[in-house]
Symmetry: C2
Subunit: 177 residues, 2 copies
């Protein structure tokens, strides 16, 4: 039990399967021959070449996008155990998507009801965050972090080698519990 230790946890692609939802919607609505393997190790720009990029980027801006996001496997159970032991904050770079703010909060209330509103942060640039650990899928968030950065595996970051890697929520449980 060490409530003095702060763990900041990203939301999209750590708690919520955001990128796979973008891929699913894109494939359903657009002519394409993208296989599952196509996306592995590719950045957003590489994964969606040409005019496909603009379409893909617009998908999370839809008003209802965040209403039905799937939860990452095992994240609720492990998060509950983390919250019992540490001072855990959700830190989401949500400001780019104004319509996501309230739906994201509602989504957290449904799937992670044990997280107090005091421990939820919606921001832009995460360099303003002070914590002991940051679990995030984006290298640019981890680069500016002063505590210990942990990269959560996502299709777009598989080539990144600078940060300790968490492949799934079982890895997070092994590290902290």
């Amino acid at each position: 039990m060490d409530k003095d230790i702060k763990i900041a946890v990203d939301m999209d692609d750590v708690l919520a399967a955001t990128y796979s939802q973008v891929i699913r919607i894109f494939r359903e609505e657009n002519e394409n021959d993208y296989t599952d393997e196509w996306f592995e190790g590719k950045s957003y720009k590489e994964a969606f070449p040409g005019h496909h990029l603009e379409i893909a980027i617009s998908i999370p801006h839809r008003k209802d996008f965040f209403d039905h996001l799937p939860v990452m496997e095992n994240s609720p159970e492990v998060m509950k155990a983390l919250c019992d032991k540490y001072d855990v904050f959700i830190v989401s770079a949500a400001m780019e998507y104004p319509y996501s703010l309230k739906p994201k909060l509602d989504w957290l209330k449904i799937h992670f009801p044990f997280i107090h509103w005091k421990n939820i942060v919606m921001c832009g640039d995460k360099s303003i965050i002070k914590a002991d650990y940051l679990i995030d899928d984006h290298s640019y968030n981890l680069e500016t972090f002063n505590g210990q950065p942990l990269i959560y595996s996502a299709l777009h970051n598989l080539k990144e080698t600078r940060f300790e890697r968490m492949n799934n929520w079982e890895d997070i449980a092994s590290k902290f519990l």
Copy 2:
């Protein structure tokens, strides 16, 4: 010019005249004999005794409350000059008011259009914030802050003596510009 210096600026009662708006609405809608002087130096609880407290606390939870908030005098001009010189973040404890998230962002876009979404933070507990300065009207936010805390004068904090005091936006200009 020192963009390496981060200044975190609270929103309610520093950029926006939130408390005076609560007082105005309360007075209009409820039988009371509260004068302007009544509120000086009083906490929320002291200012609104008995069942009045519940009514006053409910006012900022209204869906349209944040749509029409007045701007604090001189704050746009001084903020613009601060943003040119420093790395300025808006840090608002907005999570308690889910309906305020989008309206607050819209309000900032109208009155402080020069602030990038990357520099806006909506949170609960501000102990997660890392910056060099925090300008805030609430002692409990300043107490947990690691940088230099600056208290922005509000009716409820006039008795507080632990923090360097900014009486208005001219004081902030004198300190930083």
